[in-house]
């Protein structure tokens, strides 16, 4: 066994110029088809959630950048290894060598159950303390993306509770007024491919989407403010944050121009010299595959390092956070906390099987939560988990647009199964790339 090697390429000047559906500075063209390797088998087109792949059976396919979500689902499903990924590995490696910089790894949940595959272990092998030790050995400090996921639940959970108060319980106090523009159902916001999909194809849905940033972006902004100033005592300008993600769309997310909030906050509070140029919250993103390549470059095998013994304060996370990587996980994590806050008590079990997406396209559930402000009277919440944008999402969005949606809370994950099956994950010949690349006869268009 072993995983398929995916070719990468470095960003070029054209990458950041914007244009079309991209704002200046946003990374475009993260995923590309190598015309010399594509045989036109059409598999990718059937996995693309956005209809961004053009070409008919037998002809070399190509991606329409303007329509593409950068999700990488085409890449992990191309049986011929013909799709390539833009990588920022060289930039990260050179920062690691620079003694002036503190390089911080923000490690997503799904990485810990897939990284080991790149080193010969079966899919699902869980590495936490070994993975942390390996990143430290490579020269990183760590801010767990899972810790940021806990922050996300606090912010998004309280936002959802505020919407429930305003829209369902009729609480129109002034501090809730801003939620008048954000009706239910509430959509999750942590998947950048889903956000871009809504921005491109369903702008009517945008007011419904949570304003909470994704964990990656919360992590970046937190590291360059609270962590830098209060915990580590270092100059935020000398921090280089790296998202370690199962996801190619996260590369794009980090480059969105609005995500410079640490810079603007620090500036306003007088922590930066006047002439400091704006810097992003997250400086670079490496996919799980890129991270494995980084370890190979540095001669580190994460399966052989001795696990770290102590958990730093920036590495503490909960079960709710770690299941973010599975379809239904964000919902389950939000419900665990919302239940406690709304009812004032703990649930009898933390495991909410009813919302786990597993390999089902759409999961729906009704949950009764006792409400403390109503003397324990139970309210029914209708929950929907969309597992993969392709095929399932449209009817649900249509209902929302015409005001007929039965749901209060809708989770959308672009990738089937959740981020554990993201476009940046190891490509496993168990399912993807299932034939030897040498076998078929490559065709040239």
């Amino acid at each position: 066994m072993g995983v398929q090697k995916i070719a990468t390429f470095s960003p070029s000047e054209k990458t950041f110029t914007g244009g079309g559906t991209f704002l200046p500075g946003e990374v475009k063209g993260i995923i590309r088809i190598n015309p010399n390797k594509c045989v036109g088998c059409d598999t990718c087109r059937h996995h693309c959630p956005a209809g961004a792949i053009k070409g008919s059976l037998g002809v070399t396919h190509h991606i329409e950048e303007d329509l593409c979500l950068s999700c990488g689902q085409c890449l992990v499903n191309c049986p011929f290894g013909a799709i390539e990924q833009m990588s920022f590995l060289d930039e990260v490696l050179s920062r690691l060598k620079d003694p002036d910089y503190t390089v911080v790894a923000i490690i997503a949940p799904a990485v810990r159950v897939a990284l080991a595959e790149e080193f010969g272990a079966p899919p699902g092998t869980l590495t936490v303390h070994r993975m942390h030790a390996a990143f430290k050995k490579a020269g990183f400090r760590i801010y767990e993306n899972n810790l940021a996921a806990d922050q996300t639940i606090m912010e998004e959970g309280y936002e959802f509770i505020a919407k429930v108060k305003y829209w369902l319980l009729g609480d129109k106090t002034p501090e809730l007024e801003k939620f008048a523009e954000h009706p239910l159902p509430h959509f999750t916001s942590c998947c950048p491919a889903w956000i871009r999909y809504a921005e491109l194809y369903w702008p009517d849905i945008l007011p419904h989407i949570s304003g909470a940033k994704s964990p990656q972006q919360m992590a970046g902004a937190t590291v360059k403010t609270w962590v830098a100033l209060r915990l580590w005592n270092i100059d935020p300008r000398k921090i280089y944050t790296v998202g370690i993600m199962p996801c190619t769309a996260k590369i794009y997310e980090a480059s969105r121009p609005e995500f410079k909030s640490a810079f603007y906050w620090l500036k306003e509070k007088g922590h930066l010299p006047e002439d400091t140029p704006p810097f992003p919250d997250v400086d670079a993103v490496l996919t799980t595959r890129d991270a494995a390549e980084l370890f190979r470059c540095l001669n580190i095998n994460p399966l052989n390092v001795s696990p770290e013994k102590e958990t730093d304060i920036t590495e503490v996370y909960t079960g709710g956070a770690t299941i973010f990587g599975n379809s239904g996980g964000v919902t389950e994590a939000a419900l665990r906390t919302a239940y406690c806050v709304l009812s004032g008590q703990e649930p009898s079990s933390w495991n909410i099987e009813a919302v786990r997406g597993h390999t089902t396209g759409v999961r729906t559930a009704k949950l009764a939560i006792p409400l403390k402000p109503l003397g324990g009277k139970k309210a029914n919440f209708h929950i929907c988990v969309v597992n993969g944008v392709k095929n399932h999402l449209e009817p649900i969005l249509e209902d929302v647009v015409i005001g007929k949606s039965p749901f209060h809370f809708i989770e959308v994950m672009n990738c089937p199964g959740g981020c554990i099956n993201g476009g940046g994950q190891p490509v496993n010949p168990m399912g993807t790339s299932w034939i030897d690349p040498l076998l078929p006869l490559p065709l040239k268009a």
């Binding site: 559906t21 810990r112 899919p123 702008p203 503490v316 089902t360 396209g361 168990m430 034939i435």
Partner: protein
């Protein structure tokens, strides 16, 4: 609601139009498909489900590990508590608003007039 498997392939209609120009290439693709041998699309979907399930199991295992360490849900994370106590005050606070929330979703169709609407 009829649910499709997330990974389900749709059969291409038999009437799929093929130009003469691409015919030869298709022959080439068929050769590749023959080379795949026993692997059918069904196998492919099943196996794909298998590794998805294995990775999902890994994360639920990590969840149970956290639950055993008294860390089941986000509001019980001591670092998060400290973050609010020392710095951001409470969820949806002014600081949280600046650092943890976004105020920008763009209608991207407007940026690109030549883009087509999907679906």
């Amino acid at each position: 609601m009829s649910e499709k498997l997330p990974f389900q392939y749709e059969e291409k209609p038999a009437s799929l139009l093929i130009s003469r120009r691409t015919f030869l290439k298709i022959t080439g693709v068929l050769t590749s498909v023959l080379a795949i041998g026993a692997y059918t699309v069904t196998d492919f979907v099943k196996k794909r489900n298998k590794y998805i399930k294995m990775r999902q199991k890994g994360l639920y295992k990590d969840d149970l590990r956290c639950q055993r360490n008294n860390l089941p849900a986000s509001h019980l994370n001591p670092t998060v508590e400290k973050f609010y106590r020392d710095f951001a005050e409470h969820p949806l606070s002014e600081t949280a608003h600046h650092l943890l929330h976004t105020h920008h979703y763009y209608v991207r169709g407007k940026l690109n007039m030549k883009g087509e609407r999907h679906g």
